[in-house]
Symmetry: C2
Amino acid sequence: MFIHRYPQKSTWAELIRRPVLKKEEVSEIVSDIFKKVEREGDQALLEFSKKFDSADIGSISVSQDEIEEAETLVSEELKKAIQVAKENITLFHASQETEIQKIETMKGVVCWRENRAVEKVGIYIPGGTAPLFSTVLMLAVPAQLAGCKEIVLCTPPDKSGTINPAILYTAKLCGITRIFKTGGAQAVAAMTIGTESVPNVYKIFGPGNQFVVAAKEYAQNYGVAIDMPAGPSEVLVIADEYAVPAFCAADLLSQAEHGSDSQVVFITTDLAILNETIEEIHSQVEKLPRNEFAQQSLDNSHFILLNTVEEAVSLSNLYAPEHLILALNDFEKYIPAVQSAGSVFLGNYSCESAGDYASGTNHTLPTNGFARNYSGVSLDSFVKKITFQHLSKQGLQNLGKTIKIMAEAEGLSAHKNAVSIRLK
Amino acid sequence: MFIHRYPQKSTWAELIRRPVLKKEEVSEIVSDIFKKVEREGDQALLEFSKKFDSADIGSISVSQDEIEEAETLVSEELKKAIQVAKENITLFHASQETEIQKIETMKGVVCWRENRAVEKVGIYIPGGTAPLFSTVLMLAVPAQLAGCKEIVLCTPPDKSGTINPAILYTAKLCGITRIFKTGGAQAVAAMTIGTESVPNVYKIFGPGNQFVVAAKEYAQNYGVAIDMPAGPSEVLVIADEYAVPAFCAADLLSQAEHGSDSQVVFITTDLAILNETIEEIHSQVEKLPRNEFAQQSLDNSHFILLNTVEEAVSLSNLYAPEHLILALNDFEKYIPAVQSAGSVFLGNYSCESAGDYASGTNHTLPTNGFARNYSGVSLDSFVKKITFQHLSKQGLQNLGKTIKIMAEAEGLSAHKNAVSIRLK
């Protein structure tokens, strides 16, 4: 835990520098995995499952029976919660649909955009220490709303060769029927290249470890798009004197428990809040089942005291956090100043876990500073916007001279001729 | 020129397969260029200008005097044309602005998105055989509308060390003042890493040769975003018996003249139209100043006869062209069937050059099949959409149970605790 009191502005960038991720070794392993999947298809996936998941699975496809059985294994309480979350996520993402808006830029020249779903998309859901059925919701709901024709889901099996029932239940609830037991870089390779069982897709979504992240980057060499580049998860909390230290501590810990590489930053303008939040953390962390992860993450966390909230927001913009919590009394005043963040939580009752699960916003967000130049996942991520234009003869008459002069100045005679020949 | 009459559907994918771009050799050269720019800054850029542009430039920055002088060198006629195009492009891109829409997903739970400009963007404008001042409009207009704070433009100098005056005039017209004489992969490296003169940026836009394309992909390793991956420019024309062969030929040639690697595909349901269009091409190509490029591109072009327009649109979706011209009498009927294309031109008077220059749509579009999973450049390309949420205490009470059950099922106790502690 690093505590900085009134650091000089010139030191900020260094102070919150993220650890540099080592890529080279990983990318060689990923490249080998792609080659093997390309060469051997399903057989490679089966072997990788033995090696990495310690699972001997007969078939890569999850059967209809397995999906139906999963449904009986999920408690009614959890089903109900997943349904509530799905409703909110659906409501918010459906609001992102846009109407077609035809613009007559000149008499007889009409231009507009129409959305078309990315036809085939792949969703990757990690296995490991937490069964992320919430991520199924975050990716499958907008994919369905967008109208993607083929939605493929890959997730690694556990040692017994099965998939967590909550993941299967959620997938079914979202209308996904093509589910495959394969994880890691090999799952990304399968969705990129296609195997006998797994169809190839045009865009791949979802979180994962460093191998999955590297595999998604590598997939781009095959012409596949990805949701966004990624790094470890992050939260930055800005608190004033009205903040509640116990709440702040709980939010910081809910980030820290994700993994030992989670990034946690706390900025406050109030010394008492700083000290009390740190105390609260020490007391709350003890009770967490995942306190080992949380403790390692906290070891690298930053607690910063600044003079003003304006300064705090500036520092936050420089860092560009995935999650930003404004635990401020007058949070509204500072919204316009927020320039770079993935998702912003306002006031004392908007905890990050609301957005992680169920408020309606997406939890697939830019990390590692990518909030400077990327948006989180939304309905937009699952569509292409195609421009259309119609020029009447009169429209081309109105615009023709402009086109001809510009084409000539660029030395492109055939471009000019395409107008001249029509207006002859 | 390849002519295919009623090819079997099973052969389509092979028939329109694009040439595979060789990447490896290029990427090594690009990596070396990045290292040199990182090490030597401006000095590297000056040396590269000597080597690649045969230009001995004293300063990398374009001076105010140079910009003002350029203004005197552009004809009034061309200035007027550029202004008309700018107005149309502004009108269409301004229509892409979205209102903030607050959604109450549950009582007391309010979620919305707000746009924020990408703070620093870089525009690359190629030099070479055509001075693409039109691309300055296509990238600078939405950057300005979005509110990007820093807009940097790099373009290579000619042998005398100067920049085409139309490029400088257009840049000034769009409010760009930071213009640098540097081209190729080194320009992309400079905007990625930053040098003494050239500021680093968060997102890089613009077309270029294979080195520029490779450099933009390489820039992503430094955390910089790019507009989209790219390949050679393309057009696919679908014509029925009402199409005008001379118009179709002119459109195909205006694509072919871009370069020897331009991709040209023509599909028709009418044998006479097929033959007449080919005849028209032979007669029109002779008169073009760039007929050498056009001829080479035509050598690899495909002319396809199919039974129905439905089939033609299917084949087009499989190919996913950058530009699609529907030279059809009842083009409206086929709009919903268009699934993958960059920009679509409807009817006999909507020539591609209208959209290339002045109708209002953007001409920076996905090539090489990327229309399956990418949109063209729009206002969206210059902003991030940040999600915001506010939960009142009542809102958290309404949503709390759902969050707690889901967090517990994912094994994330601290996430659950962030709710419990607030509702205690």
